[in-house]
Amino acid sequence: MFESILHGLRQIAGWIIPLAQAAEVTLALSVISVVIGIIGGVFIALGRISRGKILKRICGAYIFVFRGTPLLMQLFFLWTALPLAIPALTMQNRFLAAVIAFSLNSAAYQAEIIRAAIQSIDPGQMEAAKSLGLTYSQAMRLIIFPQSIKRLVPPIGNEFIMVLKDTSLVQMISLVDLMKKTNQIQSSAATALVYLPSAVMYLIFTGVFTWLFNRLEKHHARYE
């Protein structure tokens, strides 16, 4: 009994480094994609609520396409289908391709989150800003965005956790993430024990980020 527990622990210890290396892909991909997604999302959201009819349509179509098709399909389209059709668009860097696909996808989701948050702000705030002579971009930057942040943080935190778990899709383009590494170890060591350290790693990531996002939310709600 004691022997087998010890053996298990020794096995787990040996897996930590390969798992951690794979986790780097998972973590880096999620963080980079969500950050780029937020930046892109802001612009798409602004386009969506702008008065320009064409801009509005384009942004609406973007969201429709990227939310309406599976991320796996987008990843595959970018990595395989597109270069097969147009060889000039062949990418060699798998991680970069994954970042692009995940960012494009995340931007669509976050645009809707951001739009909803902006539109939830009392229109009186914009009117007051205008009546004081602030330009549209000043009003957005100084008045509307800062108030939206506390409403943005929970859904973006949620989106981050979704992306973190979706990163396992990258094994389709032969990137080894935490999930793939777990599977590889499981089949070569012929034991499901590897799920234990792997699950703990996922929980640490989601735990740390949940905590961070809670802090951020509180910080931006301090004036209430």
Partner: protein, 289 residues
């Protein structure tokens, strides 16, 4: 104006709803059709069905990863399963007097799903290895196979040694994957080694010049070569890697029954006929000893 909007909305929702219903019915109808076609393997001699301890009594459930032509893949209509293993499965079912049902499974879980009783037998281009024999009931070989190396014509690669500094791909968790790992552990220095979920991914990557060579089962390579004229087989393993069927460890009654059925199908020439249909030659000859 508001009311007209409202009616329009109602109409559109009604239309969407109707469409959803129609699609659901179509899907149901299709499943029924599919079940009927697989039931073609029902007891030829019309006798009562024998109990082999099947997962579902009276049904031979066969696990396969559909997407490995010409062994198991979808016909051009995109929904009917076909291939060497598929036809052999139907014939085996007939011999055993059982209905046949095919269960499409991810390759990674193809053997472990035997343990969780998702199906009775794996017929999915399963190479016979010592490790697999230790953990599962593996039948005698039913088709010859060995590993080959496929590249774009004129790559200069002609052996496993000449892979040094090159990029290689295999399908994950296959004997090709195992073999490449052995070579790497033995000191082969690759510029990159990538594993994919589906074998088609490997060939796409080869065409996109993201890799230089694919290590793969010969039975599959022959099929892709027929479709991609720019590819060629540059090396062939000396080690035969015949394919067998896998069952749960200790499921000896069904294993023996299947062995018998396959032997009979050999003797009758049924297997040779299927092989000729898919490979243009009988690559099963002499493999079953």
């Amino acid at each position: 104006m508001n009311t007209s909007h409202c009616t329009l909305l109602k109409r559109v929702s009604a239309l969407v709803l109707a469409l959803a219903c129609a699609l659901t019915f179509a899907a149901c109808a299709k499943t029924e059709g599919g079940a009927a076609s697989t039931a073609a393997g029902t007891a030829a001699d019309g006798g009562e069905t024998v109990d082999y301890g099947n997962v579902t009594p009276g049904v031979l459930k066969i696990g396969m990863e559909v997407g490995y032509p010409p062994m198991e893949y979808l016909a051009e209509d995109g929904s009917t399963i076909t291939g060497f293993d598929y036809e052999l499965g139907l014939e085996v079912g007939k011999k055993l007097g059982l209905d046949v049902e095919f269960v499409d499974t991810a390759w990674e879980a193809i053997l472990t799903s035997l343990d969780s009783n998702r199906y009775d037998v794996v017929m999915s281009s399963l190479s016979i290895t010592a490790e697999r024999q230790a953990n599962y009931n593996i039948t005698k070989p039913y088709i010859a196979n060995n590993l080959v190396l496929v590249t774009v014509s004129g790559s200069g690669i002609d052996s496993t040694e000449s892979l040094a500094g090159k990029r290689v791909a295999t399908q994950t968790e296959t004997t090709a994957d195992d073999y490449m790992n052995e070579l790497i552990d033995g000191g082969l220095n690759l510029a990159g080694y990538n594993v994919y979920e589906k074998v088609i991914n490997c060939f796409d990557e080869l065409k996109l010049n993201r890799i230089d060579a694919v290590m793969v089962d010969k039975v599959v390579a022959l099929y892709y070569l027929a479709n991609y004229s720019e590819l060629e087989v540059v090396w062939e393993s000396d080690t035969p890697e015949p394919l067998g069927m896998g069952l749960k460890k200790g499921n000896d009654v069904l294993t023996a029954a299947i062995e018998n059925a396959v032997d009979e199908l050999y003797a009758e020439g049924t297997i040779a006929a299927i092989a000729n249909k898919y490979f243009g030659s009988d690559i099963t000859a002499g493999v079953r000893k």
